[in-house]
């Protein structure tokens, strides 16, 4: 039985007439890198803020590390990097971390070595005595990460941590998330960057218009696989036979030139519930005397999942 570190039931947040979060339920297990995915304005940030006690839910309840949201003792065990991270920018990088150490109930002397180690980890030793005001966007985000990791938190909440960062900055965030995962720290990642989520998360939830519409593990993707089939002739009969075993997502006459001037091959993409269906499909094609050139099992990418789950409304423009 896995330990749930976050459990939310029917969270709802209303700002005046505007509903930011409609009806949100989710669970996060200890040690998971949990990706919270959705288009801009889906309620991701508001959800994180509710879990952290920054925003009180209008309805519903949630617990974090076993206590009701906002619990003061639990907040000492959480780390948070907000989306638009802004700090007391007249402090130096080191002073900022010392200040946060005091907010965590520790003297800056007590945590001096910890602060130095964090500054080194985010490569800010050289800039540690400069006011944060003079930092570049990337440095600002690094000091923000250090701040979020300061208390050795059990859960780290990262809200769009790579937005507006250059590739090096993104890489650092990704590395830090891998380190956290290896250490067994739970990470709650808000993002709309699917590549980032795919590379780091162990489980994701899709949120759309303030509701969780789909939760899945990235380890097995619910067993669904996509099969790409290339055949000599694509008849309606073949299509019907294949459709028996799975859902055809792309099966038109997307003709490609065959090998060595052979007649063009036709391509079919099918999503099946489990890999066991693959031989059945092969048998159905071959049994009908259709030449089968290729059958490839492809993992469905997160992007395809995203578009599937979100529907066309999720697409911009």
């Amino acid at each position: 039985m896995p330990e749930f570190v976050i459990e939310a039931h029917g969270l709802r947040k209303q700002f005046g007439a505007k509903t930011a979060v409609e009806d949100l339920s989710l669970t996060v297990r200890r040690g998971e890198v949990f990706g919270f995915l959705g288009p801009n304005g889906a309620g991701k940030s508001t959800t994180i803020k509710m879990l952290l006690g920054l925003v009180a839910p209008t309805w519903g309840s949630a617990s974090v590390l076993g206590a009701p949201i906002g619990d003061r003792a639990v907040r000492a065990r959480l780390g948070f990097l907000p989306e638009h991270f802004r700090f007391q920018d007249w402090l130096t990088g080191r002073e900022l971390l010392q200040f946060h150490a005091r907010l965590l109930g520790r003297s800056s002397r007590e945590w001096a070595s910890r602060i130095e180690a964090l500054l080194a980890r985010v490569d800010l030793i050289d800039a540690a005595n400069r006011p944060v005001r003079t930092y570049s966007k990337g440095m600002m985000q690094r000091v923000g990460l250090a701040q979020a990791l300061l208390g050795d938190p059990e859960i780290v909440f990262l809200d769009e941590p790579t937005s507006g960062l250059d590739p090096l900055g993104r890489l650092l965030v990704r590395d830090v998330m891998h380190e956290l995962r290896d250490r067994g720290t739970t990470v709650f990642l808000n993002s709309h960057l699917l590549g980032e989520v795919e590379a780091t998360c162990t489980r994701v939830a899709f949120v759309k218009a303030g509701r969780t519409v789909h939760e899945m593990s990235l380890a097995d993707e619910d067993g669904k696989v996509e099969v790409v089939i290339r055949v000599g002739v694509l008849t309606d009969d073949v299509r019907a036979a294949v459709a028996q075993w799975g859902r055809i997502v792309d099966g038109a006459a997307a003709a490609t030139v065959g090998p060595d001037g052979a007649p063009p091959l036709e391509r079919l993409r099918v999503v099946v519930d489990d890999e066991g269906r693959v031989p059945e499909i092969a048998r159905a094609i071959v049994g009908r005397g259709i030449p089968l050139y290729e059958m490839k099992v492809a993992r469905k990418s997160l992007e395809e999942w995203f578009l599937d789950v979100m529907g066309d409304e999720g697409r911009p423009g």
Binding site: F15, K49, L52, G53, L54, V55, A56, R72, A73, R75, A76, R77, L78, F80, P82, H84, F85, R86, F87, Q88, W90, F99, H100, R102, L103, L104, G105, R106, G144, Q147, G151
Partner: protein, 282 residues
């Protein structure tokens, strides 16, 4: 185990440090220094004049010096009022707007401690500024004019209480209002109390009860001007007060109960601010 608590003093300490390196404080210090220099020069000229004229009686000299000193204190009072509103006016609204507050409020500290810590930090700066300006005016009067107004030990705490009332409004307003709105509210209330107090004075002098009552009610809603009038009336000789012929000799001075009212007012306004901040989405 992480210890919990100590947030109040940490915030107060940070606020103090932040205030001390802000440009507005520098501007206030320059304005204060310029004002004190001007006051010193004017006083010097006046004292030279008074000393050289044998027709001036001791009483006249005393009245003149008291008037000038009170005028200096009044100007110092206005600078302290400006400072009390402007220094903390954006401390909460600004940090909420920019998102700085988010990283602060997720730490294991009470929201109450954020408001109270900021209050204490700014109060300390305001009190220091008050001490500087009022100490400057009284010091110049003592050195240049060899004059010290009576009962400054009761007058000065009243002025500090006035500054505290205004500072508290500015901080509490920031828990809910945007910076500019909050500044307008604080200055608006101050101006309202100023006008109402004059209505009360004129109403009393002319025996117009309605004007007097309106003045009293507004003074209860915003006690700043009443506190200044009480302080001014304390810091002049009885004879001048009885004559009532200067802007600092009010016809109607609030009863000592106003001090308790103002103290309670500060506590209530601060409590409302804390409560608003505790409930607000950050």
């Amino acid at each position: 185990m992480t210890r919990v608590g100590g947030g109040f003093l940490t915030i107060a300490h940070l606020t103090l440090h932040e205030a001390l390196r802000r440009r507005i404080l520098l501007a206030a210090l320059i304005a204060g220094a310029a004002f004190l220099a001007l006051y010193g020069l004017g006083l010097f000229a006046l004292v030279k004049d008074l000393g050289g004229d044998p027709k001036t009686s001791l009483l006249e000299r005393r009245i003149a010096l008291n008037m000038v000193t009170l005028a200096g204190l009044y100007a110092a009072n206005l600078l302290v009022v400006l400072m009390s509103v402007l220094l903390p006016v954006d401390t909460l609204s600004g940090e909420i707007g920019s998102g700085v507050m988010q990283t602060l409020a997720v730490r294991p500290i009470r929201r109450r401690d954020i408001v109270l810590g900021k209050w204490l930090g700014h109060w300390t700066v305001m009190a220091a500024y008050f001490a500087l300006l009022f100490g400057g005016v009284l010091g110049l009067s003592a050195i240049v004019g060899r004059f010290t107004p009576p009962r400054i030990e009761t007058g000065l705490p009243l002025v500090l209480l006035e500054g505290t009332v205004i500072l508290t409004i500015s901080i509490a307003g920031g828990t809910r209002l945007a910076t500019v709105t909050n500044g307008m509210l604080a200055f608006g209330l101050f101006g309202l109390a100023f006008i109402a107090n004059w209505m009360e004075q004129i109403g009393t002098a002319l025996g117009n009860q309605a004007a007097q009552q309106i003045g009293t009610i507004v003074s209860l809603l915003m006690p700043s001007e009443s506190l200044w009038q009480m302080a001014a009336s304390q810091m002049q000789p009885a004879i001048l007060r009885e004559l009532g012929d200067s802007p600092f000799s009010p016809f109607s001075v609030a009863s000592p109960a106003m001090i308790w009212w103002a103290a309670g007012y500060i506590v209530v306004v601060l409590a409302i601010g804390v409560r608003t901040f505790e409930r607000r989405a950050l």
